[in-house]
Amino acid sequence: MKRFIYICFFFVWLTLSPCLPYAQQVTDTGQLPAGLVQESVLEKDSILIGDQTWWNMTLPAGIWTGRKIEVPDFSPLPYKLTAQVEALSGVLLDSVVRKKHLDSIRARILITSFDSGSYQLPPVPLCLVGQDGTRDTLWFKGPRLSVNTIPVDTTSFEPYGLKPQMRYPITTGEILTLVGIVVLLSALVFLIILIVRRRRNHLPLFGPVRPKDPPHIAALKVLEDIRARELWKKQKAKSYYTLLTDTIRVYLRDRWGIQAMEKTSAEMMEALLQVEAEDSLLTEKIIGELGQMFSTGDLAKFAKYTPSDSENEESLRQAIRFVTETAKDEEEKEE
């Protein structure tokens, strides 16, 4: 029994022995083992340091018929073929078709080197396994690879022959795209500026801008509306005086730039007296009348005071008189 096991083991060893690592054998002896030997070629037999090239091996026609091709395992990548040359891919098989017929099979390996010099590549075995399990090894001789370093100018320590990046001519399509983007951006910026300006000036965002009424026209329109509503006759003296005083406050703001909405009656009178010196249309008499109107307004607004009809009408008259007598014509304003 023991003898039988030894015989079996011998036959297994005999069958698998061609696929064992041959490189070891070659590098040690410098001679190829027995079997089919083929030439192989490099796409570029001279490369710059760090450059890559394909190592091509062609299997002759018919040799693979009915056989399976087994390639050596180069994992993990990158695989050191020699101390200086690395395989960046495994053995890649590719069929070459000529006149619609399979002509040959090409095996390729992508290689590189990061060390300058001339290197003899090791032979590569491909194993052809027949259907009955018979194995033939096809050896490809390793060509010589020359790796050149980049010549450097020793005075400036810069490589020789540096070429600038290639500049392609700009096409019409590219120009049109750029022009389109610029036009779009300009339109967008113009739109934003327009919106901001209109919002700042309290104008409608879209549509034509209507010219604003001069302060006295706007005030007189509101005062006319207040007169038409006759709020005091509807027991709404407080609302009536609120509207009346607010209209005059807006007029003061638009006419002289007095921040009247945030001022008390006394502060407004004080501000008007200050303006009086610069504006000939303002007189002490008219300011006094306005003060009287504001006093009545304060009483109606804050003291539950109910003024008589004649007082209410007089207050409105005082307000209208103040506006008409201090109105500034547009022509005068332009002057």
Partner: protein, 330 residues
């Protein structure tokens, strides 16, 4: 619609506020100038609100308070706040009587109508806190007994803004209980000249006692009757709200400067102080001018400033000015 006879209301105010002139006259005999200080003391007295006076030494803060107390026939206590003062020194304590073999209450100096808490920030927080119950509840608890304080009861505290070493800043809760914080400024040149003359002559006039506590109580009732329209209430709320959310009043720049805004107690104080101011001005109703006149005194100690504001040397007065100039007047 309920209407108010403005003539009748004003006549009543004229009648009831007659003592204001007499009181001011008596005080001006002793205090030269400082009209704003005297007016604010009157507001505090009429509005039943405590007052915090701040100013450098020698501006007649203490003298003004002593004079105010002297024109009223009321009990006056002066407490000099020192670092070793104890709460019992203010409110009183229980003392064991060997004769009756029981504890007897020994009332402290807070049992008076007018309390002058001189240099209040010289005492630690526990002593300042002893004032809290008295100021807010107007009562004092000693042991198991609670005693109501006499009416009127007014705490007038002084503090010095320049000497900060060895002082205890008043906590926010305590400060908020003061209705008004009055900043006392230097007298004018003419006024200072008068002060020199008075001192050189060696004759120091004294104020006559012209009021009784009952008169003050009556005046306070009238002050409460001063009419405040809903528009004025809204204006007050707007001013106080602007300290909390300035961005809602077109003041986004103030947001980063205010750490915390004024409390609802500020709204209450602003309303009652405005009424008192209207009363002093002989008016039976409040107008926006009244609110503005007391706004600084009511709000300045109720707005917290951020570090950013302090770094930019911004004080609460700047913030109040911005708010007053931005909030619409009714």
């Amino acid at each position: 619609m309920e209407t108010v006879n403005i003539k009748e209301l004003n006549e009543r105010i004229q009648r009831e506020s007659a003592f204001v002139d007499i009181m001011t006259l008596e005080m001006s005999k002793v205090i030269v100038g400082q009209k704003q200080l005297v007016e604010n003391l009157l507001i505090g007295l009429l509005a039943n609100g405590h007052i915090l006076l701040e100013g450098v030494p020698g501006l007649a803060k203490t003298l003004a308070i002593r004079t105010l107390a002297s024109v009223v026939d009321a009990k006056f206590s002066r407490i000099q706040f020192t670092p070793d003062l104890l709460p019992a020194d203010l409110v009183g304590t229980l003392i064991y009587s060997q004769r009756t073999e029981e504890f007897q209450v020994k009332k402290g100096p807070l049992f008076a109508n007018f309390i002058l808490a001189d240099e209040i920030n010289r005492s630690p927080a526990k002593v300042q806190s002893a004032l809290l119950e008295a100021m807010q509840e107007r009562q004092i608890t000693i042991g198991e007994h609670t005693f109501p304080l006499p009416e009127p009861f007014l705490v007038l505290a002084t503090q010095n803004p320049i000497e900060q070493e060895g002082t205890y800043p008043l906590p926010e809760a305590q400060v908020d209980r003061f209705m008004l914080k009055v900043i006392v400024d230097y007298p004018k040149k003419e006024e200072e000249k008068l002060i020199i003359r008075m001192n050189n002559s060696g004759e120091f006039p004294t104020a006559a006692q012209v009021l009784k506590p009952a008169d003050i109580r009556k005046a306070r009732e009238v002050v409460r009757e001063v009419y405040m329209d809903e528009k004025i209430e809204r204006y007050i709320v707007d001013l106080v709200y602007a300290t909390r959310k300035p961005e809602d009043y077109h003041l986004p720049d103030l947001k980063s400067l205010i750490a915390y805004g004024a409390s609802p107690r500020a709204s209450i104080s602003l309303a009652i102080a405005s009424k008192a101011y209207a009363f002093i001005r002989r008016r039976g109703y409040v107008i926006p001018e009244d609110v503005r006149a007391v706004a600084y005194e009511v709000l300045r100690h109720r707005i917290g400033l951020t570090y950013e504001a302090e770094a930019e040397n911004i004080i609460t007065e700047n913030i109040i000015t911005s708010i007053i100039n931005a909030v619409e007047v009714p």
